[in-house]
């Protein structure tokens, strides 16, 4: 106990030096926490975007469909497969889809489009599709019409009440053709989706493609991305060939690569920040040891074992790190929480770029615990490494030289 008291009092012999050194750690932790929180927040927004717009956190389909996305590789949802989904506690919602390509024609123009047969209620729970309805109404289970994405509708020059003709190839080469009234116009934040999507009920889609009861995929949702891995592991274990389950990350490798690339950039910035902090702490510790050489010599001379002396110096180093890290984390939590609740709105080109990417133009922040405890771990590791210096010094101190210092 006395070691800790001496170490603590030693810190405050030169209060400004301790305050400045701990202050550098404080700001390092604060900036690093905010930067990490912002990074994680933007990843969460991107992932949530991808997940909520379309892919869901996970999808189940057949192995053949994964290799070759044709209507012939669709499947019928068996009771056993559905019970696996229902029994997995982490899954909050799931919804079936039948998705295939077709030509869409209006009076004058024809364009290739993606036809998606959905369960309106289920789909809305998963992707909140209803909120993208710009005109007209959202589908219900008895709807016979279609919802057309805005750019496609503009291209085809159709509006609510007009009809579109869909024709293409159905299940096992059967001719697929039908005439559908436009009951809704959808406007997504993503231009890619706006150019090609047509939604109809699952029943209508199965009829169009002559694929009764068949699905191209089942989309699964969990609470958030952090809850997905155990659910995915369980499903991968339970779902056997010819079916397979894939996560959004496996379905969207480009997004994962982009996040990884951005993480590497952030890591570089944080490394620079922590290198500066490291040298700040090291400078202070070097001074503290060097100017107390005689005092350390006296302590050993009067009977303090070098191990005990090194413990005092070790505690001093750890205390400096702790003061900075704890205060940094204590300030960064409420500050981050404020930005978490009130994301910073972006304007100008940055906002336009984000809208083009299909992301709402806000700078989001994350409140994931690892945003904060990672900083504490880093500072702890830095101070542990730096504390090696005074420990070595206390063991190598030559008494006669120290007492003359």
């Amino acid at each position: 106990m006395k070691n800790i008291i001496i170490a603590w009092r030693n810190l405050w012999r030169k209060p400004w030096r301790t305050i400045i050194t701990s202050g550098s750690i404080f700001f390092g932790v604060l900036l690093s926490s905010l930067m990490t929180s912002m990074q994680y927040g933007s990843y969460e927004a991107m992932i949530s975007n991808v997940v909520q717009f379309y892919s869901g956190y996970m999808q189940i389909f057949t192995e053949e469909y994964h290799e070759n996305k044709t209507i012939n590789n669709t499947f019928v949802l068996s009771d056993s497969l559905e019970s696996i989904i229902k029994n997995e506690k982490g899954i909050t919602h799931y919804t079936p889809r039948l998705e295939y390509f077709s030509l869409a024609s209006s009076e004058e123009i024809t364009k290739g489009s993606v036809i998606i047969g959905i369960d309106p209620d289920g789909e809305n729970k998963v992707t909140e599709l209803k909120k993208w309805v710009k005109k007209g109404s959202f589908l219900n289970n008895n709807s016979t019409g279609v919802m057309v994405a805005v750019d496609l509708a503009n291209y085809l020059k159709v509006d609510i009440g007009d009809t579109v003709v869909l024709y293409g190839q159905g299940y096992h080469g059967v001719m697929a053709a039908g005439v559908y009234p436009v009951s809704g116009i959808l406007e997504f934040p993503s231009p890619e989706l706006n150019k090609q999507f047509i939604y109809m009920t699952l029943k209508s889609g199965q009829e169009l493609f002559s694929a009764p009861n068949r699905l191209s995929s089942v989309v699964l949702m969990v609470k958030d991305n952090y809850h997905m891995p155990p659910v995915l592991d369980n499903l991968k274990e339970e779902i056997k060939s010819p079916f397979m389950v894939m996560s959004w990350a496996e379905l969207q490798p480009a997004l994962v690569q982009m996040i990884d690339g951005d993480k590497a950039g952030g890591l570089f910035m944080k490394s620079l920040l922590y290198i500066i902090i490291t040298f700040g702490i090291l400078g202070t510790i070097l001074m503290m040891v060097s100017e107390r050489k005689r005092e350390l010599g006296v302590m050993i001379a009067i009977g303090m074992q070098r191990t005990r002396l090194s413990m005092i110096l070790f505690f001093e180093t750890i205390f400096i790190g702790l003061i900075g890290a704890v205060s940094g984390i204590m300030v960064s939590i409420p500050l981050t929480y404020h930005f978490f609740r009130n994301p910073i709105p972006l304007t100008g080109d940055a906002a336009r770029t984000m809208v083009d990417m299909g992301i709402e133009p806000f700078m989001y922040f994350s409140m994931q615990p690892d945003v904060f405890y990672t900083q504490a771990i880093i500072v702890f590791i830095i101070t542990m490494v730096i504390s090696i210096y005074p420990i070595i010094k206390s063991f190598s101190l030559k008494l006669t030289t120290a007492l003359r210092a």
Partner: protein
């Protein structure tokens, strides 16, 4: 009874060009309760001699026995413990631990010895009162005068109940009044506790109090004289 037995004590410093014999084959015994001054000009080897005697600097050859124990045959850890239990140090610059109060400085060594709290508190109070600064028990060294700090240093040196106390130029930083007072104090402690004191000094006032004066020159004992001061 001999507290200290020194045989053929030698310390040679090797520089790149020459060998310097700082202490050159000293043989000497010190009895319990002696009040001894080691004197000599600067560079005579008295501090090196005291350092080897106090287990702070390893001799090149020779033997230092304290209470029958050859201290330089001990391991580094054993030697630190030995110093703690058998040797008290009083330094020229007081060298108190600045973050501890006067009382804590005195108590600290007893804590290292593992003495119970009650005993530590009692002895700390007793020693600080004996050295005349019982009222400054809670003051940090920075709040004490040089003379008061050196009194705390004496109390700290006595705290572990050592075989003897080594004092290296203890009066060098003190004014005349503080020097007289400190010498009086150490002399009283010597008589009261029968503690052996060995000083390295240039100070005539210390020499005037010493009952034995060992004069060192060029690393050898030039004179070893006893005086009756009573």
């Amino acid at each position: 009874m001999n507290v200290i037995e020194i045989k053929s004590l030698t310390k040679i410093y090797n520089s790149s060009e020459v060998q310097v014999k700082a202490v050159n084959g000293i043989d000497i015994n010190v009895k319990e309760g002696e009040f001894t001054a080691v004197v000599g000009p600067s560079g005579s080897g008295k501090t090196t001699f005291l350092n080897m005697l106090g287990g702070l600097d390893k001799p090149t050859s020779g033997e230092v026995k304290i209470g029958g124990v050859d201290i330089w045959s001990l391991t580094s850890r054993q030697l630190i413990d030995f110093r703690m239990n058998n040797i008290g140090f009083v330094f020229q610059s007081y060298n108190l631990i600045p973050v501890l109060t006067a009382g804590e400085n005195v108590e600290f060594i007893m804590q290292l010895q593992g003495k119970p709290k009650k005993e530590r508190a009692q002895r700390t109070k007793e020693l600080l009162e004996a050295v005349g600064i019982g009222d400054r028990i809670n003051s940090r060294p920075s709040k004490l005068s040089g003379g008061q700090q050196q009194r705390v240093a004496v109390a700290r040196a006595l705290a572990s109940k050592p075989e003897f106390i080594l004092a290296d130029e203890p009066t060098a930083n003190l004014d005349s009044k503080a020097t007289t007072s400190l010498l009086e104090l150490m002399s009283n402690m010597n008589k009261k506790y029968n503690t052996t004191f060995i000083f390295a000094t240039h100070d005539q006032r210390v020499m005037d109090k010493a009952r034995r004066i060992i004069t060192i020159e060029d690393g050898k004992i030039l004179k070893d004289e006893y005086f009756n001061r009573d």
